[in-house]
């Protein structure tokens, strides 16, 4: 590929949009954008990619599968101490006594620190009280047992529906409270041809990351190094620096490492009390300290997706257009009363008079943390199931109903393509023999998300190095928490340099490298891809300069392609060209420029999913048998990894729809199923046949036009499963998870 080395001053004309999936029409258009001075010229829909969008393997796949990848849990040093946290046994109260001396005197103990002071409030079962470091976990455990912590317990509540502010529920589980008057919505509802109302519930879901929270802290004088399982290396650095300073501990330099992370799903943005405790213990003990949480702590102390109670009423006109939409919801949050808000799709209701309200209800439990599309799976479940009920009442097919009301063109195309591929019409037309044991049903639901990434303040960067021996390095200080940032870096760099992806060594997760965003809100790839591209583009220019001089040709004739660099017939193999570099490698610092000021083709991402279920009417057990996702994420960079991420979201969605539920013991305020034996996550033998079709959309908002993918596919999956169950049974199940007892109860109440 060869470009003009600079962007023209009067802007670049590019082709944005997408090529139709299957038989769907192409939607391409020309647009003039003005890249910032110094940025790489934009890729667009006509760029002939050699690596981008192909099936490149995960660059660290072998390292992970073979155990060579070192996670925070794997880091170890000579003389390193192990640590644990003593946690509160009451759900609410005040710490009235804390005796640490006996623990300090125990054999093998290097440090004991208080994490709460006497008189501090205790907010939930599992609130951190003190931490102990010692030579072995046995020693630490013995010492922890010697700590005397006493509490003045207060009455607690771990069921948000029992709170005084909670709405009244009727016998059938519907919210009984009157809707407040609203002229707009009341009028639209009164004028509607068909109206419907329903109450929906979801339960608390825990993140359940395979690697628990925590890490290793190691001081070298006033320099601190931390290996942490985190989604935000730079965030953790800032947080720890601030917290240590507040405690009067001087830190000259602080480096955070997170090269491999065993899942986060939104729970690992903060350093948390565990990382701070590790630093304090390491300081006091004058030795490296490892503090990793155990599984029960992971379930009870590191955040969750709050439960939700949602009610909606809406109306349709005679054409099937939604004309009224009235929504209210309640979030079952932790003690801080935050994070429980619920999002609902807005693209079906552009013609409607609308109202929405939300109230957070605080329980005496661990606070919410963001979890893969916060608020969305809950709200989409409520809204999409409600829409299917409404469509059924009006006698309209759910797909037709969506096609009629969905105001987004991209998803319209995806609905049509997906329905065809899934065999929607045929599957939907099939009726269940009332005498048959197994009933089948199909359902669908939409997805959305809205991030095209951002530049960061100060702007994020990437380092690209080309060495004399031909090695190429791409480095980011941001973390690759699983989705595949490293693979994305390798692919983009390889594309720019005309190499295969495996020639690029991508490294991420050390704050000594250029900064990147926290991996949240599906922003990592869209934020960093343009900086990766820019770094490779700059490095390439330097190499081209050397080769042009060597061959005696003008620079603008030199191309990097197919593993060669040169002009015309004088093409040097990559390694030969790199010999021109000399002992100091080419090093370029790419920068993430702001997104173009011109409007992108689309501001977010769309997507839709289809699900098929089989219900055993004798037992009520639901199995998801088949699922299809159509998902866009701007330009698909690493196709295989993108698909893998969507499949993972579908699995998580099935798990949320059918199994996952935090169960609290009301008396003690403790989680009853705080382990993987009783907190049920879908296992491999319970998975449906999964398919994912990625849809590349050139938004034209930055030089690479990648958009976020982490969250959107998790928005649709639970709703699609719930709609399929509704189709199979003929009655909606409005309370997730859809356990067999609820199915049998619904079948018993079914009007025959």
């Amino acid at each position: 590929m060869s470009y003009e080395p600079k962007n023209p001053r009067d802007g670049v004309e590019i082709t944005v949009g997408y090529r139709g999936l299957g038989g769907q029409p192409d939607r391409l258009e020309k647009r003039t954008v003005q890249p910032a001075e110094g940025d790489a010229p934009p890729w667009d829909a006509n760029t002939p990619f050699a690596v981008v969008g192909t099936d490149v393997d995960r660059t660290d796949g072998i390292a992970k599968a073979s155990g060579r990848a070192k996670y925070a849990y794997d880091i170890t040093f000579p003389g390193m101490l192990q640590a644990m946290i003593l946690r509160s046994t009451v759900a609410r109260g005040v710490l009235t006594g804390l005796e640490l001396d006996e623990a300090r005197k125990m054999p093998g103990i290097g440090a004991v620190v208080a994490l709460k002071e006497i008189g501090n409030k205790v907010r939930f079962v599992g609130d951190a009280i003190a931490a102990v470091a010692g030579t072995t976990l046995h020693a630490v455990r013995d010492a922890i047992e010697k700590i005397r912590a006493t509490y003045e317990a207060e009455a607690h509540n771990v069921d948000f529906l029992q709170l005084p502010d909670a709405p009244m529920l009727g016998i059938a589980g519907d919210i009984d409270d009157e809707w407040p008057a609203d002229e707009n919505v009341d009028g639209a509802l009164a004028a509607a041809k068909v109206t419907h109302t329903g109450t929906y519930r979801t339960e608390v879901q825990t993140h359940s990351s395979l690697e628990t929270h925590g890490g290793v802290a190691k001081w070298n004088g006033k320099d601190l190094e931390v290996w942490n399982s985190t989604q935000a290396t730079f965030g953790v650095r800032g947080e720890l620096a601030g917290a240590l300073k507040a405690r009067g501990i001087e830190v000259e330099s602080l480096t955070v490492h997170a090269e491999f992370i065993g899942g986060g799903f939104g729970s690992k943005f903060s350093a948390g009390i565990e990382a701070l405790a590790g630093c304090l213990l390491a300081k006091e003990a004058n030795a490296p300290v490892k503090l990793m949480l155990d599984r029960f702590e992971e379930h009870t102390c590191t955040g969750n997706r709050p439960s939700a109670l949602m009610q909606v009423r809406a109306g349709l006109d005679d054409k099937g257009t939604i004309t009224a939409w009235d929504w209210r919801s309640f979030g079952g949050c932790g003690f801080n009363g935050g994070g429980g808000s619920v999002a609902v799709p807005n693209y079906y209701t552009s013609q409607a008079k609308k109202r929405a309200s939300h109230k957070e209800l605080a329980m005496d439990t661990d606070p919410a943390r963001p979890m893969r599309a916060p608020g969305h799976p809950q709200g989409w479940f409520g809204a999409e199931l409600f829409l299917d009920e409404l469509a059924a009442k009006a006698g309209i097919d759910p797909l037709e109903f969506r096609l009629h009301n969905d105001d987004q063109t991209i998803r319209q195309d995806q609905w049509r393509f997906g329905a065809e591929r899934f065999g929607w019409q045929k599957a939907r037309a099939r009726t269940n023999d009332p005498k048959a044991r197994y009933w089948h049903g199909v359902g669908l639901a939409s997805a959305r998300w809205g991030t095209l990434g951002n530049a960061g303040r100060p702007a994020h960067g990437i380092t690209c190095r080309i060495h004399q021996d031909g090695t190429v390095e791409s480095r980011s200080g941001a973390q690759d928490c699983g989705p595949g940032l490293k693979t994305v870096m390798a692919i983009i760099t390889a594309e720019e340099l005309g190499l295969p992806a495996e020639r690029v060594k991508a490294v991420s997760g050390h704050t000594s490298d250029p900064s990147g965003p926290a991996s949240g809100g599906s922003t990592t790839t869209p934020s960093l891809a343009p900086a990766v591209r820019h770094s490779a583009w700059l490095a390439r220019q330097q190499l081209v300069e050397l080769v042009a001089k060597h061959l005696g040709v003008p620079e603008n004739q030199v191309a990097c392609t197919g593993g060669k660099v040169g002009a015309g017939t004088a093409m040097l193999p990559w390694n030969e060209a790199c010999k021109l570099i000399g002992p100091n490698p080419i090093e370029a610092r790419g920068k993430r420029f702001d997104n173009y000021k011109q409007d992108p083709f689309f501001r977010g991402v769309c997507g839709c999913q289809f699900a098929e279920v089989e219900v055993d009417t004798w037992t009520g057990i639901v199995r998801t048998t088949r699922m299809l996702a159509i998902q866009d994420c701007g330009v698909v960079i690493a196709k295989k990894l993108a698909e893998s991420q969507v499949l993972g979201a579908m699995i998580q969605g099935v798990s949320y729809a059918l199994h996952e539920q935090r169960i609290m013991d009301r008396t003690s305020g403790r989680m009853l199923n705080g382990d993987f034996l009783r907190y049920k996550i879908t296992g491999p033998k319970d998975l449906p046949q999964l398919e994912c079709i990625m849809h590349t959309v050139h938004n034209g908002h930055a030089n690479t036009s990648a958009a976020g993918l982490g969250e959107p596919p998790s928005v649709a999956a639970p709703a699609a499963v719930a709609n399929a169950v509704f189709h199979a049974l003929g009655v909606p199940l409005r309370h997730l998870p859809i356990t067999p007892d609820k199915v049998l109860a619904a079948l018993a109440n079914r009007k025959v």
Binding site: M84, R87, T89, V125, L137, H138, V140, R141, M292, D294, F296, W618, T619, G620, H659, D665, T667, S668, R670, L672, N673, G674, L677, R678, K680, T682, G683, P684, K685, D686, T739, P740, D741, L744
Partner: protein
């Protein structure tokens, strides 16, 4: 973090030696076979033996052999993986082999043994928790405490029988061989268990289970059907073991045992009575299934809704009977 407490590890070379060590240390001693139940339990301080007696080196516990009278004797140390793949068992005892295959995951079956599975500890939501967890609710009567959190007014423990092989082995009227201080004795497998979540075994603590002896193949058929949330990996929340003896198409004897529905594998006696002297027709299967609702004594101490678990007992009994057709 769950850690194993320290203990002394014994490796006796004979059954008699093992029994002697166990007798010497009394309550401080426990046998370990595969360790897949005992070690996690020790980490949670459910069992706190200071003397752990490995059966690895005890001869005679590691083989499956067909006895001259046609019965099949299985050594207590034979792994579940070996059993599920054993040609003789697959051919002549498909119901039993199926039950073995339903246990846990391949990794655990590689370590877990038939002896360990037959003696599996009973389970409960308030018991199968870490020590610190249990301490914070002042423990429960099964270990260290006084109350049953599942039924606080109850004088007894309601922990649940959770082995997959026990219901079918009891239904088949298999024998177990036990070595004690007085030598070897044989008894019906069904007599090994009692209806109590704590004292769920009738054997003396030092008595060593050495062999399971399955009846000779004949005019009987056995089956096992497991209910659990996920096919991937879960303890049974209902495990139906059935064995029917036929003579000319007529059922002469019927045993139905409900596992996961109480502290022992409960006989579904009403269902059994309906079957005897009859042909196994669809109508009879449905009627016998329906009669199995009553004996299931589900409590709210395991996965899934307590009433639902009782409600589906008839379905599972019917399906298990169907499999004996």
């Amino acid at each position: 973090m769950l850690r194993l407490p320290t203990f002394t590890y014994h490796r006796p070379k004979t059954a008699a030696e093992a029994v002697a060590i166990a007798s010497e240390h009394g309550k401080q001693a426990m046998y370990v076979a595969g360790g897949t139940d005992l070690y996690p339990n020790m980490k949670r301080r459910h069992q706190t033996p200071t003397q752990v007696i490995s059966l690895q080196d005890v001869p005679g516990l590691h083989a499956v052999e067909v006895l001259p009278d046609g019965r099949t004797a299985i050594g207590a140390m034979v792994t579940l993986t070996e059993l599920e793949k054993h040609p003789h068992l697959l051919q002549h005892y498909p119901g039993f082999a199926h039950a073995v295959r339903e246990i846990s995951t391949p990794l655990l079956r590689n370590m877990g043994t038939i002896g360990g599975n037959l003696l599996l500890d009973t389970r409960c939501s308030y018991y199968d928790q870490g020590h610190e967890w249990r301490e914070s609710i002042d423990f429960c009567m099964k270990k260290d405490g006084a109350i049953c959190w599942v039924a606080p007014g109850s004088p007894r423990c309601w922990a649940v029988q959770s082995s997959d092989t026990v219901p079918v082995v009891c239904a088949m009227e298999a024998d177990v061989e036990l070595v004690g201080n007085a030598g070897t004795r044989t008894q019906k497998a069904g007599d090994l268990y009692r209806d109590d979540g704590i004292q769920y075994l009738t054997k003396k603590p030092e008595e060593l289970l050495t062999r399971l002896v399955l009846p000779a193949p004949g005019t009987w058929k056995a089956s096992y059907l497991k209910l659990r949330r996920r096919d991937t990996f879960d303890f049974p929340i209902l495990g139906v073991g059935v064995c029917l003896w036929f003579e000319g198409g007529i059922i002469t004897k019927a045993n139905i045992r409900l596992g996961g529905a109480g502290s022992y594998a409960i006989p579904a006696s009403d269902s059994e009575k309906l079957l005897v002297g009859q042909k196994l027709t669809d109508e009879l299967i449905a009627a016998a299934g329906a009669a199995a609702m009553k004996p299931a004594r589900t409590m709210d101490n395991t996965d899934q809704d307590v009433y639902w678990r009782k409600k589906v007992a008839p379905v599972f009994v019917a399906r298990a009977l169907e499999a004996c057709k």
